[in-house]
Symmetry: C2
Subunit: 172 residues, 2 copies
């Protein structure tokens, strides 16, 4: 099973959409859900997690909506992943070295499990390398790459879609 | 859930034990299972996976047993992890960008999903960093660290345990 699941994927896409939507026409949870054809309840839960981490901020009222909680160049892919899914270890060490047959079960010498197991240490280094890489990339970096690949027309389509929805919401 | 599970942990410990056991008293699957207090069936399955990857080699007969398939300094932690568990992606991209509301469902323009999604690209870089780190460490490196922390007596205990088992097996 993949380590980072569907919540992480939708969280990154949602924040990317927020970074592309115009500041003046902040999307509602329903707009964000509809744009990605997601159930509203799923989007609300996702926004709650992202809000707790300070990555989005919502305002109420007729001009209200969701915006990024901070500038896109200060939000890293790592923060988004861990806000969406929680921080899970890459490797869960069960200290199996403590169970070896050199001593009776439950009577292991203290030295046998002092310090971090060397296998665990290797895995912690791999986890650190992975997290370092995700911390190097900001939402702004991703948005820039996406924009670079899009035509001018396509680049306008996302903010325009959210602006239309914003206008619809304000109709009597 | 952790990315690398219990099979990876036992695989690394098992290979470490094989690297410490004397060449002349190669452990049986039962020896390896008993040493870690594991069910024999679990150990047999693990050894089959490791053998397929060329990391262990078994010989039959009264002097038979399991040995490392290659020198410990040529076996990396990455190879062990992927032999034990298979190669799973860190992040499974579901191409959710294809489902967005800009076009009717099932009628997306081709350009919308051309190339690798930028979010997927970030995750692939993180996975590469993680795998690079695991590929940097060999079984011999881990064994050296384990040995450095052990007392002389403790260092002798593991090969001695397997030697005793080997002698037991050969008793009439």
């Amino acid at each position: 099973m993949a380590f980072y699941g569907v919540r992480v994927e939708y969280a990154l896409h949602t924040l990317l959409n927020l970074s592309l939507a115009l500041e003046s026409t902040a999307p509602s949870a329903r707009d964000l859900a509809d744009f990605q054809r997601l159930p509203l309840a799923f989007m609300r839960k996702l926004l709650t997690r992202l809000e707790k981490a300070g990555l989005v901020a919502g305002t109420e009222g007729v001009r209200g909506g969701w915006r990024l909680g901070r500038e896109a160049d200060t939000i890293t892919a790592l923060e988004v992943a861990e806000a969406a899914q929680g921080r899970t270890p890459l490797f869960e060490c069960r200290e199996i070295r403590a169970r070896c047959a050199l001593w009776p079960e439950g009577a292991r010498p203290r030295a046998a499990t002092s310090g971090v197991c060397e296998i665990h240490r290797v895995m912690l280094a791999a986890e650190a390398a992975m997290r370092r890489e995700l911390a190097r990339t900001s939402l702004a970096d991703i948005a820039l790459e996406v924009e670079a690949k899009r035509s001018q027309a396509a680049a306008m389509a996302i903010p325009a879609w959210f602006s239309d929805r914003y206008a619809d919401r304000r109709k009597p």
